[in-house]
Symmetry: C2
Subunit: 260 residues, 2 copies
Amino acid sequence: MNIEDIPKNHPRYQSLVTREKLVDFFNKGIVVAHGLVAQGRGEAFDYILGEKSHDFALDAEKVTVAYLLLSQSPIISVNGNYAALAGEEIVELSNSLNVPIEVNLFHRSEERIKKIENYLKDIGAKNIMGSECNKVKLPNLEGPRGIVCENGIYKSDFVLLAIEDGDRTQALRNLGKTVSAIDLNPFSRTAQAASITIVDEAIRATKNMIEFSKELSQLSRCELLKITSMYDNKSILSKAFNQMFVNLKNAYEKGIIFNL
Amino acid sequence: MNIEDIPKNHPRYQSLVTREKLVDFFNKGIVVAHGLVAQGRGEAFDYILGEKSHDFALDAEKVTVAYLLLSQSPIISVNGNYAALAGEEIVELSNSLNVPIEVNLFHRSEERIKKIENYLKDIGAKNIMGSECNKVKLPNLEGPRGIVCENGIYKSDFVLLAIEDGDRTQALRNLGKTVSAIDLNPFSRTAQAASITIVDEAIRATKNMIEFSKELSQLSRCELLKITSMYDNKSILSKAFNQMFVNLKNAYEKGIIFNL
């Protein structure tokens, strides 16, 4: 199906458009086969969550922007799925806050890193690395999935990542970094290991962060610190779980038919 | 990742093996990109359900076998994902009960039908159609997704299908056919439209049906009719929903970390 063929009045128009977008980027070699499976898992959780940005997501997004503004060396770690889903939003966020992007892949291939880097540069990314940096390995992560840029993720004190492998998120946390993770599954190891868990769809999450960055870049350091100090990720995860129960129960009781 | 590289003691070994199997069949042209996304949705629901065959699934599987034995013209409708996941099990079920297979695709291509047919023949399918039958169109289903074999799905009184599109399931029901659907999402339109909903993973479901067929083929017609007459799909769906709530609640309360 082409994106143009999806009827605009389809009740799940946005989700179907996003799915086709991923398949397009798969055909371009930016997303891998496993990324399509991951997208399916995300679709299921987003559907259960009602395909909207709840308060628990907005709170985590706001705190993430505060950290992006406060941190000494923040970075946005971008993989194939995140680039394919929210490339333009990532570039806008990165450029407006002057936070660098590192293209970093679990299913690592230098060719794909170059492709994603070029794609993001084409749509305006100004501060981006991945293919030509000095590479170092994260401790406790075997194989190519441990490789990062020395002046990127390695030296960072704050990492924003999305749809990431649990081992990698944990490895970054073990190095003492603050990690904010966009992940629709609040039970995933990434969601559980992150310092800040954004239980939201990647496009919506990044759009919301762009909005928050306009507001928060007007605040003083002290006011930003107030926002980060009040944040409690356990309570955010609880609210996300609770929303899943409530939505499933409502759908069941009202006889709403899911349409995945 | 290759299947051999997945550590056997990984808590989610079976699910990871299944995922790699799907990606392999994708590379062979049997599964399409959208099939990988569908697999991801299934993984999410199976995870919430605890990745096991619950009583509500076993009941639906048993009744399905009773129908396969009782019906005048039963058929097993097989698409790319079902063939890739459970090809060997489908062939064993089909051969042992002498129920034909029709290869029938939502994302229809004659080449892919031929590929799936050849794959299933290679692993022993004796009674199979799809590419060279007399083709007719189901009413109310536009485009190539409405095409079926006249002496297969069209004339059947009972259809077993898996991971199917909601419109197609509904179209078969509208023709008065009894439809049993393997679908991990009890909220899906297919799950809701089916006469019998098997909320279970396709490999486990088909293996269970092979076991039931050994037991049920010993029974009289009257005993089989007793099994089918006592079946209540609404109660089966209720039990599946309930299991989802219970598992989410337990996982949350026990702090079990999901590992998708």
